[in-house]
């Protein structure tokens, strides 16, 4: 069953299927972004495929692939309950500055993709064409940038509330909360108000 899905895809879409592999029962197909929606529609509608369940949709950032406009990899996991099959579909979009990081939305094929696409947009900056409501879902609207990109500084915070300073608090803030090893978990707290230094 499993290999036949990939064969079927290759047979039907030809050069739009860039790469396939099937290791340990994990079927994966890397497809051209232009055919994304067409392939997804086929996988959903074709009676032999019948992938009726969307498991996950997410993005992965590969900065070293930016030169070939393949920076962001969009990964879609599908499951077919009637056929008892699973499939992983990937496509790669976007350059260094995320130009062209766009792909067709599959929300109209699987309504469950709605929030996954919003999350991928929020975290990675991928735009989904035809999405009914493409807003940030986890971060707040004031947030700048996309936090899961590799070039987002790890220590950069964007507080909604102005942090208190030591004059306002009337005491040295950093001396209070660091715990010693034996006083619970000890963690560095060099992050707070270091956002300006790291930008």
């Amino acid at each position: 069953m499993t290999v036949r899905v990939l064969d079927k895809l290759k047979e039907r879409f030809g050069s739009a299927i860039l790469e396939t592999h099937s290791n340990f029962g994990d079927d994966t197909a890397l497809v051209a972004p232009a055919s994304w929606k067409e392939i997804c529609t086929f996988l959903r509608k074709d009676p032999q495929m019948d992938f009726d369940l969307i498991i996950d949709l997410c993005g992965v950032d590969y900065p070293h692939r930016a030169e070939t406009n393949e920076r962001i990899e969009i990964v879609l996991h599908l499951c077919s309950l009637p056929k008892r099959a699973r499939l992983r579909l990937k496509t790669r979009v976007g350059d260094e500055e995320l130009n062209g990081a766009e792909v067709d939305s599959v929300t109209h094929i699987w309504p469950g993709a709605n929030w996954f696409e919003r999350e991928t947009f929020d975290m990675m900056g991928v735009k989904f064409r035809g999405h009914p409501d493409l807003r940030r879902i986890l971060m707040y609207p004031e947030f700048e940038g996309h936090p899961l990109l590799k070039d987002y500084p790890a220590a950069r915070t964007q507080p909604l509330v102005q942090y208190r300073n030591e004059e306002e608090a009337g005491l040295p803030l950093e001396k209070i909360a660091p715990f010693r090893e034996d006083e619970g978990m000890s963690f560095g707290r060099n992050v707070w108000n270091s956002a300006d230094e790291n930008n």
Partner: protein, 211 residues
């Protein structure tokens, strides 16, 4: 308020049927035993908070029984769990809605300093946005640590002391037992002091006691 410690003996009635105290000491004594709490529970520490508040550990013993789900009626804010940047304005608003005098407890490492959420999402300690009186370290803290924190806060209220305090961890009694040279019957080990044969052993002694 004076920073002098208040002695509770001044509040006990003497033989003449009256007691003398200072007004601020009396107020502090009244406040420390009538804390109305607002639990701002956001994460897994909430499970420990439920344990603290429920009958097994029983926060009510210490005069902090009634939770108020309106900040306007509360004077002790428990911040239990991780505070994300997105929640920070909400927490600030809740704090501002509370009436003076008000106190804040940071329950757990996340509320105290952000914990291991050292990234773009999390406020690195609620003291960055609101004043905080007591820090209870732990991930999550044991209920005993939360009770220690409450007692520490009551002590500070009685003294009119607003400097923040950290709950010191108690020694784990099991650590001592595990390192005991003669082994640990509780964990299934056989004590080395038992004679090889004959004579009363620790095991048979306890058997006799049970029968």
């Amino acid at each position: 308020m004076s920073n002098q410690p208040t002695r509770t003996i001044a509040l006990e009635a003497n033989e003449q049927g009256f007691a003398t105290t200072r007004l601020d000491a009396l107020l502090g004594w009244a406040r420390k035993y009538s804390l109305f709490q607002y639990p701002f529970v956001t994460a897994c520490c909430g499970m420990e908070f439920m344990s603290v508040a429920s009958p097994r550990f029983d926060l009510a013993r210490f005069g902090a029984e009634a939770p108020r789900f309106s900040p306007r009626q509360a004077d002790l804010l428990w911040v239990v769990g991780t505070i994300s940047q997105r929640q920070a304005p909400v927490l600030r608003r809740i704090y501002e809605q509370m009436m003076d005098p008000k106190w804040v407890m940071a329950f757990g490492t996340c509320a105290s300093c952000g914990g291991f959420y050292d990234n773009y999402t999390t406020v690195p300690g609620i003291d960055k946005i609101i004043p905080c009186d007591i820090y209870i370290p732990g991930c999550p803290p044991r209920p005993e640590a939360a009770l220690d924190g409450l007692l520490l806060l009551q002590d500070k209220i009685a003294r009119g002391d607003r400097t923040p305090g950290i709950v010191k961890p108690r020694e784990d009694p099991m650590t001592h037992l595990r390192q005991h040279p003669r082994g640990l019957p509780l964990l299934g080990g056989i004590p080395n002091s038992i004679p090889p044969s004959g004579g009363p052993s620790a095991g048979s002694k306890s058997d006799k006691e049970h029968t």
